[in-house]
Amino acid sequence: MTYKRGVDQLPIPPADARVQNVTCDFCIVGCGYKAYSWDLNRQGGMAPGENAFGIDLAEQQWAESEAWYQPSMYNIVMQDGRPVHLVVKPDTDCVVNQGLNSVRGGRIAETRYSEQTGTMTDRLTHPQVWRYSQHMPTSWDDALSLVADVTRRVIEEWGEDGVIVSAFDHGGAAGGYENTWGTGKLYFDAMKIRNIRIHNRPAYNSEVHATRDMGMGELNNCYEDAELADTIFCVGANPLENQTNYFLAHWVPNLRGTSLGKKEEQLPGEPHAPAKVIFVDPRRTVSVNVCEIEAGAENVLHLAIKPGTDLVLLNALMTEIVDKGWHAADFIAAHTSGFDEALAANRTSIEDAAGITGLDPEDIRKAARWIAEPKEGGALRRTMMAYEKGLIWGNDNYRTNAAIANLCFATHSVGRPGTGCVRLGGHQEGYVRPPDGHVGRPAAYVDQLLINGEGGVHHVWATDHFKSTLNAEEFRRVYRRRTNIVKEAMEAIPYGDREAQVEAIVNAIRRGGLFAVDVDILPTPIGDCCHVVLPAATAGEMNLTSMNGERRLRLTEKYMDAPGAALPDCIIAARLANHLEASFRAAGNDAYADQFKGFDWQTEEDAFMDGYHQHAGGGEHVTYDRLRAMGTNGVQEPCAGVEDGKLVSTQRLYTDGVFGTDDGKAHFMASEWRGLQAKGRAEQREKYPFLINNGRKNMIWQNAFYDVRTPFVRERFPVPPIEMSPDDMADLGLEAGDLVEVWNDVGSTQAMVYPIATARRGECFMLFSSPLGQVGNVISEHTNELMIPNYKNVWANIRRIGRAPQADGISFKTPEYPADA
């Protein structure tokens, strides 16, 4: 049955409704929104003078109306202790999204905490500790002093390596500059924690090490470049579903040819045409489909490579481009080093590449032409190179990342309008932390440490290994066992006897136990295991700054109260630091206690001024007041100064040809093909019939933490879907909506069959990170030499379990837009 809200009218914001700046909580695009709030006892009117939009709401609004908001954009929330109406709707004045919302961003309001309307009422509202055999609400002081006492004892006995940390490093909700600074200052400045990992991978490492090592940051262009490019070369990415409004507002105009005027105006003196697009992806995605609809199939080249062979293709493209003489020789000579060596090492013929990738040699040649053949009159083509998890979380991460950067340098596809060599991004970014050099390289493989029984205390910040790690089954099994040892020890001693409690906990740790602390906004599976659970505030409940995929920094203003006693993560970090200081001082260790000075922040703005303002490039110009004045358009980092009271943007990086290396040159890098790099995967491919490729879906944000609580989404995907070829389904006797088990030598998980006519036989695609079927269960623990997992190239078998719940009310029609519609 299709979910219907049964809502057919909405309250109207009055003309004097409070209006605040919001950046979408969710994906990297960071779309601009406005929050309208007004007193619960008031209503705006239909007449133009009576509502916040200044239009006659008694008349039908037509397409792209600035005024329409749908029920998911409405809620009732608390603001300064009083209930208010809230509408959060996309901002037409934001240059990023130009009034568009995606299906994810369109439910910001609906995913707020509301005791009035019942949304997200299971948000964590108060600190909880494990006592009397369950999680019991308690005060901040009680919870934090326990964490501090246990953490101190662990440090005293095992040193700082006994403290294991899992923490977000991103922007947007559950991240942002304030909170990465708060946690960073605690773990990298007050302490020097080495055993730390990031929210979506088992170590503390860059996903794009290679491009950084070669001198190029991974977010180096601006969204307008997608409107100016001659060719967009897109590797392992699916922007319609994952960077939705970037694709809709900036790629589509170039595909349709409606950005031609902009091209001619900004880039005179060279020929222009609508964009051509190349996709490298084993799977045909809706992005390919829509590009064909908009640009015509003749302008779209889908290189459906054999999974994991991107590197070979990239090396072959570079070889072909240089052999044809299409490379940017002047740029290479003036601004790069290592070209000849890298070219020699990576030399790959088209025929060899075709053999390994399974592609038609002519298609590889065509791709090389589209990427680099000079335009009529000799001008360099402008090619934007975009990649994401297909490359980042695919085979041989470091070398493949290097290979695309090589191709970029060879064609001077960075620092010029219409170019860029960029990751498309998942979350927004918001990283400012003290130096992390002590973590080392390669960084510690934290999940493996935990499995091996190491560490005494685990601090978990908005991370859930249970849903999102690899080798997840074993991780969960061990984690439950270790944390249970501590739970049982705690239960044996009255909670009020703190000294005896801590002693019992430390003894349990000596026996292999683990004391765990979870900071999050909602209950999570890993949080279930923890002994202390701390409630965090999210965006909108605190002021929060982040940047998007074109380094656009904005301030999301606080427009509602956090639930209960929840606090911003940065303030939780500060209060934990205060308690650690007190605990060490009480234990007589003044020297260590003194390390926790500098955490007297009272507000997130204090954390911002301590962190971003003092430590980010250009941060000295940026304050909350100045950001507020910049609205939803903000400023592109690094901020270059202040003019007429306005923050000045840096639109693109490397426009001067100076790169982030010691000599300022971009460094080419040898990146030879070495097959499926992660141990055991090549054998797994032989042994199991189905590739279990995996990634996001349009409708679902991240690990579905809100979505499992949102009927509109939950009704559509009650279980994570697995897309399969109908022929494979027939072989296995499967129907659309069947619940299947996916299993291999690593573990097993479940999914709901969704037929996709264009799926290749033997190649499935499953939603990743779902709480109701973790693909991580079937992904082996092996990583590359820098501890980056290969989440994508996994093979398994599939068998039927039964029907998925609610499957009979779900439409299994193709997501593809029909070419003849």
Binding site: M1, T2, Y3, K4, R5, G6, V7, D8, Q9, L10, P11, I12, L40, N41, Q43, M46, L57, A58, Q60, Q61, W62, A63, E64, S65, W68, Y69, Q70, P71, S72, Y74, M78, P83, G99, L100, N101, S102, V103, G106, E110, E115, Q116, T117, G118, T119, T244, V286, N698, R709, P711, F712, G809, I810, S811, K813, T814, P815, Y817, P818, D820, A821
Partner: protein
């Protein structure tokens, strides 16, 4: 189905989903005691004659509008019974054709019985109460509730989601 039954039905669906608090009363009006959700009365719908069963042929959509001339919709006979289908064969459905994302007009694709949006590629299944198959909207397609009388006249009498471009399904209501 009367409006009252309809509300009961929506309430039941909520109950089955186990999120009793979040549904019917979620939006709308002044809430007297802020700690409690209250059901909101839905707007009063006109009963408008759209066509006669005899006017319809399978897969030939008929342009209609409901609840007023500014709200274009489509009436389709599918030739097989579907959830929410009206008429003797349970196969007649009616939907708004303004996309509940940004209001572009949807196109009917008979080959797979979907309504498709040229704006940003949202797709809605007309055989399944307008379920959004893929897309940008946070609601499925508003479906017009139909009644067919003994003479075969088809009346629209309600709408199950907010129609694009309105704060109230019945303008000025």
């Amino acid at each position: 189905m009367s409006k009252c039954d309809r509300l009961v039905d929506l309430g039941r669906r909520q109950f089955l989903r186990g999120s009793a608090a979040a549904g019917v009363g979620a939006a709308a009006t002044v809430v007297a005691t802020p700690k409690r959700a209250e059901a909101r009365a839905r707007v009063e719908y006109p009963s408008n004659r759209l066509a006669n069963v005899a006017d319809l042929a399978v897969d030939e959509p008929l342009d209609i509008s409901y609840p007023d001339d500014d709200s274009p919709g489509v009436l389709i006979k599918l030739g097989k019974a579907v959830p929410g289908g009206a008429g003797p064969d349970g196969d007649i459905v009616a939907y708004s054709v303004m996309c509940p994302h940004k209001g572009y007009f949807l196109n009917y694709h008979a080959a797979d019985r979907t309504l498709n949006c040229p704006g940003h590629y949202s797709r809605f299944d007309v055989e399944l109460e307008g379920q959004q198959i893929f897309g940008m909207s946070n609601q499925s397609l508003p479906m017009f509730e139909l009644r067919v009388d003994a003479s075969g006249d088809i009346f629209a009498e309600g709408v199950d989601e907010l129609i694009y471009g309105r704060t109230n399904n019945v303008l000025g209501g």
